[in-house]
Amino acid sequence: MAGNRAASIDPDSLSWYEATARQRVLALTDPGSFREFLPPTERRMSPHLPLFDLPRAFDDGIVVGRARLDGAPILIAAQEGRFMGGAFGEVHGAKLVGLLRAALELKPKAVLILFDTGGVRLQEANAGETAIAETMRAIVDARAAGIPVIGLIGGRAGCYGGGGLIAGTCSRLAVSEGGRISVSGPEVIETNKGAEEFDSRDRALVWRTMGGKHRRLTGGADAFCADTVSAFRKAALALVGRAPAFDLQTLEAEQARLEARIDQFGDCRDAADVWARLGVNDPESVPAMDTGAFDETVARSPEADHDAR
């Protein structure tokens, strides 16, 4: 199998951000354990992109299948952020929906979703949008059946648009510094509301507002990883074991958590103001902190850890 070849990649040195979706899957899961569903040889490509004179991908930009993680059976999906920005088209979305529906029957230890997406693929917008809604329903069904759905976010396309909503539906999220989570992207806000509202060229602003560190400090993500595949593997293993139930109690707790966040930080203009109010001594130093220093900062944030998701 081609898969076993690439499994020789060293997960300790492989950058999550730089890796392809396939490399992430192979290096994250137990060596030789990955079996792909609808692999590239089946050529289930987009029926729509040729109308736009755009090239297709054999997997429509998402790799899905089964594997083992520390010996336990899991289902896994990985978006390829470099193909069409990892966006949800008809085939791409349906592959994720099918995988989540299969989870109900197979009862894996977890479903991992390796997000890397700008949101909906505009050339297939209605299909993509509908697939996102189907995905969220399927995640809720899986979670209610006791199957943790874990999102891993650290790719170059980030996790934007409907991808951000799907992430918010997962049981747990791990994120790296480069993993941005947001609904409206910086360019979208700037285009619609002007550069005074959001200057998309100010990359530091983008990272402060939507980046992994801000999300982790405020409880928008449950683990912060260095940018290696092994760090994400470790985080995924830890998160699988402590997934919150999907029930009224969890959602009541999330309601209270999010209301409290808005009460507490609703008048903040910048992420640094939020961090200061969280008790971070030197908020300006957060973006430059290494993983160790940042972990210590997270440990002191009252908002970071919770079961309210």
Binding site: M1, A2, R5, A6, T20, R22, P40, T41, R43, P50, D53, L54, P55, R56, A57, F58, E80, R82, F83
Partner: protein, 102 residues
Amino acid sequence: METLTFRHTTKKPLAGSVPHAITGVVASGNLEILLERVLPPDACEVAIETPIAGYGDVWEAVVADFVARAQPGGLRISINDGGARPDTVSLRLLQGARLMEA
């Protein structure tokens, strides 16, 4: 989109027994290559879909050079091109052949 197909006869089959492999990503200036060991051992077919029309001669030369160097007998090679330069194409084809040989 332009579709190109090149068929070659090779002197020998490609070594190894890997049934299929994929390398690369469809992105601007890049391409993905799917290799499948499904043809007779002395045959190689390369099919390309590219959004950039009018470069059939360049593709023909790059593929011929690859076939001469790698002797990829038995392979059907399918390419989704995102506008890759010829040197990138050559590199990826050789990468793909190595994956199949292993």
